[in-house]
Symmetry: none
Subunit: 196 residues, 4 copies
DNA sequence: CATGAATGAGCATTCATTCAT
DNA sequence: AATGAATGAATGCTCATTCAT
């Protein structure tokens, strides 16, 4: 399997750095190859084409990203705690890797619809994690059950995503992780069973 | 003033259609000119360059979009009603103009950071409208005051935006406006003063 | 006759200034029209096309230029004096009109071969003036008769032209007229009957 | 070094032919590439941009041109002989390469001031060669020393240049080399110490 | 006579991908 | 496996000229 060879990872890492530093439209294959320390042609031994680099990059990085969130949330007891951990871990990971934050929030969104569809497929796994927590909250009778479930998970994702994007657009000048608590509070209240 | 001349509007409308049908990167100036029924060079009598068409398009369309929302919400009594009207009007307008929905949710986001910054400036006005409603809700003692206000308006925008984007990515196959109520409920509950 | 109407002259004068200040390739018809205080379309009531402006400009300005030289040289007695006067008047006129110097020595030479052929036709009259002086010098037994006559007049023109061009290329920073005497001396000696 | 690779030379040669046959303004990069038998993009592996082709062409060709003149004149004994050899070699080389003659005398002069300045820098070396011969003539007490030296070398260059340009403008219909003797005679007499 | 809005042909350059070595 | 020289398609913008008013 190519994916475990060192050059595969070298190219992925180079692509993240090049794209974060130069932007999507200035990330030529030759620039990525140079940063990775390989010849242009070598790229094509590991990736089908340029788009494949970007999709692989996203799969690779988001795979780890989601695994980490799954790992951290599993150890929490309640849905409420799990949700807080999910938000905190989401923010923490992106705050810890500025290059990745720029790439996922800004640069990869400049790709065409086709690439974005593939990216959305990767995100499905994340939406499932969110959904599981919501379901657990409903079972715990913490969350209400009268909202469209598919919608709810999108809303939760949309809130976190918009928060991170704003932080990146503002050049990461303030502390992202501090906002986790408010986002969590908003969501928990939003989903809470109505006052009786 | 060029902006009121008929060709200015023709070109804007053509740009929306061309971009919705062909995608951002296949929207050549010549294609827009042809669809608008003018010569290529005529474009440049009304717009500084290609980017200026897109910025103008967004300002023009979002200007009307926001005005409509301002108009509809003003007549409502409470912050809660205003918020519902805002969400409904937001969804309704995009549901009514499929081309515009594709352009604002998918295509224009493929632009570079510079254009996206200009787009964000236009959106500030919308964020202010949202903020005013939140503030009113706080005065009415309907909404709580213990959340970061800048964050709250972003969260609300992010929820609506993600909802619309998903609907567009799913090829507008379901009814967007039906989701307004759940989004509204989520937000109102999310901001509600904590149970006492 | 169009050529005596005031707008004809306005356009010619505007063309000289615009070309001297902006260079040949940045001298758009619209710029000339603006400087002349007329509409773009008006240009075409007085000139067949853009090239016609430039040819007319050259004919007009060089016509006066040569007339002045003819006038000044006629009053001189000997061929030697006439030649000095010709060189001095040539240099003096261009030194007195910096715009014209730039246009004739640098900008108009960027035109294509066709235009330069027309320009050469205008210069024929000047070459004839030079030739007459050379002929007179031969008759006076001041100049020798063993050189190709067509060549001689070209050489004399080439010397003056190169001198002026260098002065313009050096941004007219030194005194052009001071060089007339040396040029004259070179030519008179060059044509002198061999020592006996 | 790119300059010694065969494609570099192919492109330069193609540029000379294309420019001579089509004129400066009709010398598209694609035309040069086609004539050189390479792809358009290959041009940019060897040259920074279109102007760089033209500057390189001039440096390359004029470098050889001047070297040849330096080589031929060195073997002559007196300044007078050297000057004749210089003129003859100047004329001979351009007469032997009709394409190059058209390009240097007509087409390259249509370039903008910036390119012409670069061209003038290349010519400085030629002016130095002329100057050395003049200096030698003065030391030999063949030439006089009472003329501005910078002016003299310009005048000599201007005479040869004008002669060649006229020959090219007349479609090279007569024999250029035959004129060397008269030009030489004019210059030698022009610079001769005054009769005593 | 005069206007100026409209026209549309024309071109340098980039960069993802290939393939002979 | 790795290289990197070569490829060639694709496009935003300018500006001389026209012509309806």
């Amino acid at each position: 399997m190519n994916k475990n060879k060192p050059k595969y990872k070298q190219i992925i890492e180079a692509a993240v750095v090049v794209m974060a530093e130069n932007g999507y439209h200035s990330s030529q294959v030759s620039k990525i190859a140079k940063k990775a320390g390989v010849a242009d042609g070598t790229i094509y031994l590991y990736f089908k084409n340029k788009e494949d680099i970007l999709v692989s990059l996203f799969q690779d990085k988001m795979g780890q990203f989601i695994e980490r969130i799954e790992y951290e949330t599993t150890s929490r007891q309640s849905a409420e705690e799990k949700l807080l951990t999910l938000i905190e871990t989401h923010f923490k990971q992106l705050a810890a890797d500025h290059h990745l934050a720029i790439v996922t929030q800004l640069e990869l969104r400049q790709s065409n619809k086709e690439l974005r569809t593939k990216i959305n497929n990767v995100l499905k796994r994340y939406l499932a994690v969110i959904d599981n927590i919501v379901e657990e909250g409903i079972r715990e009778e913490l969350f209400r059950d009268n909202l469209n479930r598919r919608l709810v998970r999108q809303l939760i994702f949309g809130m976190m995503d918009e928060t991170v994007t704003n932080w990146v657009m503002k050049d990461q000048r303030y502390n992202l992780e501090e906002q986790a608590e408010d986002v969590h509070s908003f969501i928990v209240n939003g989903l809470a069973r109505s006052r009786s």
